[in-house]
């Protein structure tokens, strides 16, 4: 499994000199599986350059796993070149809502007045799937999703291939549902998605000082992500969903804080655009 991060900013695309080291594009990760299949995690603005990089690749099927329908995870979809290619089969997976189907919710964005073209007029072959409660196979990976704590229907994804595990919980506030230092694991949102993962990509939007003013907004602090990673016994933690108000220097202070809290329990990195990770 080979990953490339195309966007790791949370909430709002944030270009400019203050974010140039870690990037301003919103959530999007390319996952290449051993059999050549392409899985994409979220369709933030990072999916536009990812799509451009696919030109001439000859791919016929793409699986796009969307964690939730907030704009920073969806707004790039209309600018994803394969969406406009009639030879492409685009499978879009996303969380179940009790009110509307995934197609209906995405069509809310891909239609006027928010977008000039209707979803029904898109030329690619788009197939919608509810995020899987039970394990499904996509290419050479086994994929599982589970609802997690965020505002609105949101899932985390777990991809397993060749005995290696990637867990992706980009917008997640497990501390809202439990005291992470005392709760039994079965009562912690996202635990079974992240448990024992070789790589956990997780929300780290706030510092410990910022979090009290944002309780219930659906995101984690440096302390929470550390507690969650320790509880789930992951091998490596990548901090993701950077707050648009955090410049590069602040992000580096945050990763230093998580490393301080984590000690030697697991490796810690800061997600940045262009970052590549190989799980083998």
């Amino acid at each position: 499994m080979r990953l490339r991060i195309w966007g790791c900013r949370g909430s709002l695309a944030t270009p400019g000199p203050d974010t140039v080291r870690y990037g301003g594009n919103t959530s999007c990760i390319e996952v290449r599986l051993a059999d050549g299949s392409l899985v994409i995690l979220d369709a933030g603005t990072g999916i536009r350059p990812l799509g451009l990089s696919l030109e001439g690749s000859g791919l016929r099927r793409i699986d796009l796993l969307i964690t939730h329908l907030h704009l920073d995870h969806l707004e790039g979809l209309g600018f994803f070149p394969p969406l406009w290619d009639p030879s492409i089969e685009l499978h879009i997976w996303g969380p179940v809502s009790p009110m509307q189907s995934l197609r209906e919710r995405i069509a809310t964005y891909l239609s006027p007045p928010l977008f000039p073209v209707h979803l029904s007029d898109v030329p690619s072959q788009v197939v919608f799937h509810d995020a899987p409660d039970d394990e499904v196979r996509i290419g050479s990976a086994r994929v599982l999703s589970q609802p997690i704590i965020h505002s609105g229907p949101t899932v985390g994804y777990r991809l397993e291939e060749g005995g290696r595990i990637l867990a992706y919980l980009t917008d997640h506030e497990p501390a809202h549902g439990a005291d992470l230092r005392r709760a039994a694991p079965e009562w912690v949102s996202g635990f079974s998605i992240a448990q024992g993962a070789d790589l956990l990509i997780h929300d780290c939007q706030y510092t410990e000082e910022e979090y009290p003013a944002h309780v219930g907004w659906g995101h984690s602090s440096t302390a929470h992500v550390t507690d969650f990673a320790r509880m789930t016994k992951v091998g490596r933690l990548v901090l993701f969903h950077h707050d648009p108000m955090h410049a590069d220097d602040e992000l580096e202070r945050m990763v230093a804080r998580v490393r301080e809290l984590a000690g030697t329990a697991f490796d810690v990195d800061l997600a940045r655009e262009g970052m590549e990770i190989v799980l083998r």
Partner: protein
């Protein structure tokens, strides 16, 4: 419990809500096990919740020694939480219970089933309102 051994997110959030409330709240899972009650409910029940301990429906269904207001004993089916779990519908009634501490209390109880999706029953929740002092 999900196939992966994790509680449904709805139960996690129900527990979080209960933890934040001063009103007694009891939460059962999809098989009827009493998986959580809050601090206020601990006072009604007569003992505090202990993490990791669960009580099967057959146990909590009789643990309250419930009676009607005239003191006639009632079976577990008279407890609204039992109805919400067994029949998966909301229920409400007045009860007199005796907690494990031996104190009798007059209560108004409302319970309702919890669905994660329209067809996915994950448990039930009951709110106990103490309507007066000791019964």
């Amino acid at each position: 419990m999900t196939p992966t051994g994790q509680r449904s997110l709805v139960l996690i959030l129900a527990r979080d809500l209960a933890t934040s409330l001063a009103t007694p709240v009891f939460v059962v899972d999809e098989v009827g096990d009493l998986v959580f009650y809050n601090e206020a409910a601990g006072e009604v029940f007569g003992r505090p919740f202990v993490e990791g301990e669960t009580m099967r429906a057959e146990e909590w269904g009789t643990a309250f020694a419930q009676t009607d207001e005239d003191g006639r004993p009632l079976g577990p089916e008279a407890i609204p939480l039992w109805t919400a779990f067994r029949e998966q519908r909301p229920a409400h009634r007045h009860l007199v219970i005796t907690g494990v501490d031996g104190v009798r209390r007059r209560l108004s109880v409302t319970a309702f089933p919890l669905y994660a999706r329209a067809d996915e029953f994950v448990g039930a929740l009951a709110v106990f309102w103490e309507t007066s002092g000791d019964a």
